[in-house]
Symmetry: D2
């Protein structure tokens, strides 16, 4: 029986992205992002499915991180590729798209990595909820007003930005 | 006791927008949009609150239309200005932002009129759910892929677009 | 195009019950209950599906009442027998069992007519939310505390109890 | 920085109960139940609040178990005593009672320990979702049909029943 070590009351980092496979480059970025999150001792939270969600979960899982998947389905209604094989804690909601709200509200910081309208909804809901959002290749949009949103160009920059956001939480 | 006449199994037109008051021009547009929807015999569905939601509801209500408000709160937890005074059928969810999903999925067609991240989340969720979206001054964004999204410049154009979308449903 | 007349800001009466057909007697009771609700000018709200939900909707619809169905599915994911053919306003949630919360919170008064664990969950959620509950053949249970719950033995008694509850709301 | 050890893909045991403090006896039972769950290496999931939820979380937390709290509120809307101080992973939903659905669907087995209508709704939703339910002093009710429900008289019996249910899952 495999074990992992978890910090008490850890930071939760959300990563949102498409359920479809993206380019090789983006999938590699997702795995490296997951690995970086796990190596910092943070818990990863995703939508628990295939594509980007699976790649980032794989990176975190194989690096010894704890991985939460907030699933759109429930056990009674199995959904192909949900949860992916790198989810430690599947949270079954049966709520379809309404589970996006949980993905947006729960993490201490959220990274949007590529994705379509589902990811855009999670970005918008996160901004509305006050969750800081870091965007790496996410759909562009413009909202008038002052929101905690940062666009970055690489996984390394995303990880530095995660550090910066969480450091602020430690101090406050 | 005031009465109104409703078509059996009517079309439901959703209008999403900010809970804040917008410029005089936009508020007038919202009222005219609501009026136009009611005069076509359609039921109006909004988030049931203040600002744009109230203005469009006022237009529809005063023109004799039936108005549904899908509320974030429940009766046990009154929320100031929810429902506004032009809501016939308040649907209490107590679900906060998760009620946006219902606003996105229920209408036969959805008009986004101005608004911030809440409205953007409803646009994104609607596109994901296959609900046609008509945007009048809504936050700009870009999603790669083929979605049923039309940007318009005036209330008249929005109403013509509503007609066009619903006519297609009648035929199919 | 068929029309119906609706009171402005009408009372909403919820009726919850099994998605399965019950005995002939119970199905007839459901239709009579729906008819009585519509004839009083109230809007009927159900879960929008088959069985008891359909029978009570049929009674209300054929008596010229407006019928709301709060559906567990969305248009993208059709669900057999949802909505039934007597629903005027299908509210699409895609939320599966979480839509029970809306059924429990929205009506001014809720009648539980037979049913299984789904109906029991709606009774419990209604009591928790302060919605008065009238039970006709609903699953028996006991909750310590002071809740607005009345067991009745017939449709006529249920309708009288609906009148009593709504009269109190008119006065207060 | 305190650490704990977690099994990869652990079993999740839900414990539902009142947000109010119960008798000394019941509170002690809740703590012992939480302790027993943690000592078996299972993750505890509760509604994350005060009363029974806090007592069982305390027992699990102090015994070195990982504790998930599925909260009715979100960070933007702090709710007194949510999360309690023994929650490692607060899942913010902002969905009020709709979060009960997640509590009912996510655990591999659910223990209902005392409680009012909220707990009763979770029992009903769990039975509907196929989650096995173990009841210790929970509100009595009767649902016709064949459901996976066991009433027990003590914490020890509840823990043995948890073992029995989870052993079956290991085999199947």
């Amino acid at each position: 029986m495999s074990k992992l070590t978890v910090t008490r009351k850890p930071f939760i980092v959300g990563v949102m992205g498409s359920h479809r496979d993206e380019s090789n480059t983006v999938m590699k970025e997702a795995r490296r992002l997951g690995e970086g999150i796990a190596m910092r001792g943070h818990v990863l939270l995703t939508g628990g499915g295939p594509g980007i969600m699976r790649a980032v979960s794989e990176g975190a899982y194989l690096a010894g991180g704890l991985v939460i998947g907030v699933l759109p389905n429930d056990r009674r209604h199995p959904l192909e590729k949900y949860p992916n094989e790198f989810i430690d804690l599947p949270i079954y909601t049966g709520m379809s798209d309404a589970r996006n709200v949980i993905n947006a509200k729960t993490p201490h910081v959220l990274v949007a990595l590529s994705g379509g309208p589902g990811t855009l909804s999670e970005i918008a809901l996160a901004l509305r909820s006050g969750t800081p959002v870091i965007s790496l290749h996410a759909p562009p949009f413009e909202i008038p007003g002052d929101y905690d949103f940062t666009a970055v160009d690489s996984v390394e920059e995303a990880l530095r930005e995660i550090d910066r956001v969480l450091d602020k939480l430690l101090i406050s």
